[in-house]
Each structure stands twice: as structure tokens, then as C-alpha cells.
């Protein structure tokens, strides 16, 4: 079990460019989460999928952020027209859907917008 896999580990984009972050959840986990981590805000919830269906995207900045889960083995987080304030570590996590259980995090993608 390789755990939750996130690629790339580091990404540098120019202001205004698009960034796509990838996540492969743990096999058999049907709940997938995206969080953004910064020193100031801590761990911010962005969005959540269950069985590939979007359940809650209340944390997503609506205009430039989008997330998809086209199949059970991967999810993407896309940020259009990146801004310096988007710089953060983006963490993907997965868990089973049977009640409240441990959430397993990937190692994250550190996005730097210059």
C-alpha cells in the first residue's frame, strides 16, 4: 500500500497560469478530500468526493478552483489564473466511507505562484 499519492510534489507557476494537481487515493477508499495548508489558515477544507460524486465543495474558491474525480483511482484539483495568494501546500486525503474513520493524507503538492 503506497498510501495516497500526490503529484507533482512541487510546482512553480507564473501568475495567471493554470496549475493542475493530481491525487491517487488509497485503493478501496471511496472518500477523497482536498485541503489547503498555509501557516496562517492552517488546514482549510476545500472539497470532498464520495464514490466519485462531489459531496461538498463549500471550501472551494468558486471562480478559479475546480476539482474532479473521473474514476475511483484519481482526482484532480485545477486552479486557473493562479495568483500569489494561491501559494500553499495542497493536501489530498482519503478514507473509507463507513462512518467516521481515519483520514490518510498524501505528502502534498507545494504550489508556488511567482
Amino acid at each position: 500500500n503506497a498510501g495516497v499519492i500526490q503529484t507533482p510534489r512541487h510546482k512553480v507557476t507564473g501568475k495567471g497560469q493554470e496549475a493542475t494537481l493530481w491525487c491517487e487515493p488509497i485503493s478501496g477508499h471511496s472518500a477523497v478530500f482536498w485541503y489547503r495548508q498555509t501557516i496562517v489558515q492552517g488546514l482549510e477544507f476545500l472539497t470532498y468526493f464520495r464514490n466519485q460524486a462531489p459531496i461538498d465543495d463549500s471550501g472551494m474558491p468558486k471562480e478559479r478552483f475546480s476539482a474532479q474525480m473521473p474514476n475511483q483511482s484519481h482526482s484532480t484539483l485545477k486552479i486557473q489564473s493562479t495568483q500569489p495568494q494561491d501559494s500553499a501546500v495542497y493536501l489530498c486525503a482519503s478514507s473509507t466511507v463507513w462512518g467516521n474513520t481515519e483520514v490518510f493524507f498524501g505528502k502534498g503538492t507545494r504550489l508556488t505562484v511567482v
Binding site: A31, F45, G59, F105
Partner: protein, 111 residues
């Protein structure tokens, strides 16, 4: 939209002391309260968790105290060790799996 408040932001204790980290929440639908710890360069990982049917959960030197009436819970780390130095996140979740995290407490244990 922070629904879980955590304090203090940072905490320094001496080796052997008890570190106390505090959290509070507002949403009455929350029914699962985990604590995660994160070491530098690593991702958060589950440390210990409690459900409201209990007001205390122990795992070695780590204890969660839970007060449902006041909507508060705390993590006590007894006999703190330098290896416990990390950032600790409290969290809360309703039974829909969504987990909301606090802003974290950076703990430093001095030898």
C-alpha cells in the same frame, strides 16, 4: 468558515511537563473528534480520537478530555518528550466523513 477553534497557536513546555491543547466547536452535528499531529516535512497523521459517548479517551501519554455541554475538547500530553515536538490539529466531523480542522498548535518540548 472556521468551525473548529484551537488554542494556543504555539506552546512551549519542558520535558516531563504536561502539554494541554484546547479546541472548541459550534456545530452540534459533529460526533467524531480526532487529533492529528504533523512533524516537519511530513503530512498530518491521526494520533487519537474520541466520540461523544465518552468524556475521556486515553492512549499511553495522550488523553482527550471531552465536554459535550460546553462543546470543548482538549488534548493532554503527559510527560512530554522532545520527540513530541510537532504541530497538533484538532478536528471535528459529522457522520458524513467531512473533517474540519482547527488552525493547529505548534508544540515545542524543550529538553
Amino acid at each position: 468558515q472556521q468551525q473548529v477553534r484551537q488554542s494556543p497557536q504555539s506552546l512551549t513546555v519542558w520535558e516531563g511537563e504536561t502539554a494541554i491543547l484546547n479546541c472548541s466547536y459550534e456545530d452540534s452535528t459533529f460526533d467524531y473528534f480526532p487529533w492529528y499531529h504533523q512533524f516537519p516535512g511530513e503530512s498530518p497523521a491521526l494520533l487519537i480520537a474520541i466520540r461523544p459517548v465518552s468524556n475521556k479517551k486515553e492512549d499511553g501519554r495522550f488523553t482527550i478530555f471531552f465536554n459535550k455541554r460546553e462543546k470543548k475538547f482538549s488534548l493532554h500530553i503527559a510527560d512530554s518528550q522532545p520527540g513530541d515536538s510537532a504541530t497538533y490539529f484538532c478536528a471535528a466531523s459529522p457522520n458524513t466523513n467531512k473533517v474540519v480542522f482547527g488552525t493547529g498548535t505548534r508544540l515545542q518540548v524543550l529538553p
